[in-house]
């Protein structure tokens, strides 16, 4: 037989538990409503569903010093600078894979890619007289049509990538030609390529390949590399 005072205590505790549970639920609801009121109501841009597309990577091989174009299916941003950066990041990442033909250290390699419009060039006329007029400073030259120039791609390499890059003429030239060839194969407007390291100019990539010059964007798969 349970004593009376124990039954009173039991029901009192049960009632206190229920009251505390109700208080907690009420507090949670108030906190949720408070957070909802403070929430930024600015609409977010919905993520664009970019479908994978075919890109061309100029893949280097140390064995024979060759560069061959290889197709990949990648989903890339639409912004040209971000697109170029993502493409080159993918290129360097593939070189860090096991059994790579051009092994490089893994890690972030491309900090930024800046695309700069080159100065507008005068249109080249097939008529020599018009071409001479276009190249002169005569008022008639201003009447000739102009075509927009291409772009200069300034590639900002990370210092960690450059410091850990293998040293040698062949291996450094292949890296340069691979980057230039990949940009040429995917960006028709890029005409020139320059390199900086952490935003600063540097003489060489790893003691050999010249980083101070402006590289012409050409098809390095056929024109560059050792034959």
């Amino acid at each position: 037989m349970i004593p009376r005072y124990q039954r009173i205590l039991f029901w009192s505790l049960a009632l206190a538990i229920l009251l505390m549970a109700a208080f907690l639920l009420h507090g949670c609801q108030q906190a949720r409503e408070k957070l909802n009121r403070q929430q930024n109501q600015t609409p977010l841009a919905a993520p664009a569903d970019t479908p994978p597309q075919t890109v061309h990577l100029a893949m280097a091989s140390d064995a024979d010093g060759s560069i061959t174009l290889s197709d990949r299916q990648l989903a890339l941003p639409s912004d040209p600078s971000s697109r170029a950066r993502a493409l080159l990041a993918q290129l360097i990442a593939e070189y860090s894979y096991k059994n790579s033909a051009h092994p490089l250290a893994s890690g972030p390699a491309i900090s930024d890619v800046f695309l700069v419009d080159l100065p507008i060039k005068p249109a080249v006329s097939s008529n020599p007289a018009e071409h001479a007029a276009a190249t002169s400073a005569s008022p008639a030259a201003s009447a000739l049509p102009y075509t927009p120039g291409g772009q200069l791609a300034v590639i900002n390499l990370s210092a960690a990538f450059v410091d850990h890059h293998p040293s040698g003429i062949e291996v450094e030239s292949l890296t340069i030609n691979s980057i230039v060839g990949t940009l040429f194969a995917n960006f028709s407007r890029i005409e020139q390529v320059r390199f900086v390291v952490d935003g600063q100019p540097r003489d060489t990539l790893a003691g050999h390949a010249d980083l101070t010059r402006t590289y012409q964007a050409i098809n390095t798969a056929t024109a560059g590399g050792a034959q």
Partner: protein
């Protein structure tokens, strides 16, 4: 009786005077011959050519100059070739071996460095020294731990259009030909074709010696600044166990390169004739 210092001095002066007199009398008794030009200006008919009594020695051609540029040096070590061997030491050893082989083949060899440097040598100074040498060939020597065989590189510059301003047809042309400065950054453009021919000869000679060779172009300083047929030779490991610093492997390459340069000299002196 003892000789004093005065007596000894008088005796020495007398002996010297007698020697001078004897030498002058001997010189006056020799027949006077006009100085002979080293190379006859025009070809005379055979009947008018005086036949010397002794067979004349053929005129010695000027020794061909080969310029070697062992890369790096000083605090600039270059690539690590393994076993604590730096590229600067391997290329210096190779250059010294090549110098010995070329000297024995009657070349004059000049180099940017024959020993370790205290301070790094800029590429512009290397190019300046090479351009002053007026070399028959300039070889820039590198070594690496990646790849295999011997890599031969020429400049990436496009060949300059053929304008023969160095050999005007007449003195009047030479006087009226305007001086055209050569841009430093593209000084190699006039020599790119010759550099590629030299690279082809080197590649063929290395192949004959069973040494795998790759040839191409590379953005490497100071290749673009050299005013001579210039090739960069990069020594890569021959196999996994034979590094670029291996003496016997280097000696194999030295022999092949020396043979190629002799062939290059024969072709150029033949073309000059």
């Amino acid at each position: 009786m003892t000789l004093t210092r005065t007596h000894a001095a008088v005796l020495l002066v007398a002996i010297a005077s007698a020697a001078v007199a004897a030498f002058s009398i001997h010189a006056q008794t020799q027949p006077q011959t006009p100085p002979q030009p080293s190379v006859p200006a025009t070809a005379a008919p055979p009947s008018q050519v005086p036949q010397p009594l002794l067979r004349p020695t053929p005129p010695q051609p000027a020794r061909a100059v080969i310029f070697l540029d062992p890369a790096h040096g000083g605090p600039e070590a270059g690539a690590s070739l393994g076993n604590n061997v730096a590229e600067k030491d391997a290329v210096l050893a190779f250059a010294q071996r090549l110098r010995a082989a070329l000297t024995s083949a009657n070349f004059t060899v000049l180099a940017t460095r024959d020993s370790e440097l205290a301070a790094p040598l800029p590429t512009d100074q290397r190019a300046e020294a090479a351009n002053r040498s007026h070399a028959l060939a300039c070889l820039v020597i590198h070594a690496t731990a990646s790849g295999s065989g011997v890599h031969l590189y020429t400049s990436t510059l496009p060949p300059a259009p053929a304008t023969d301003t160095s050999n005007p047809s007449s003195p009047q042309d030479a006087a009226t030909t305007p001086f055209t400065p050569i841009p430093w950054e593209t000084a190699q453009a006039s020599y790119v074709e010759q550099s590629r021919k030299l690279s082809d000869i080197l590649k063929a000679t290395l192949a004959k010696s069973s040494l795998p060779a790759l040839a191409g172009s590379a953005p490497l300083r100071p290749l673009d600044n050299l005013m001579c047929p210039a090739v960069a030779i990069e020594i890569a490991p021959n196999s996994a166990s034979i590094s670029a610093a291996e003496p016997t492997y280097q000696q194999q390459i030295v022999v092949a390169v020396a043979n190629a340069l002799q062939l290059w000299r024969d072709q150029n002196t033949g073309a000059a004739r």
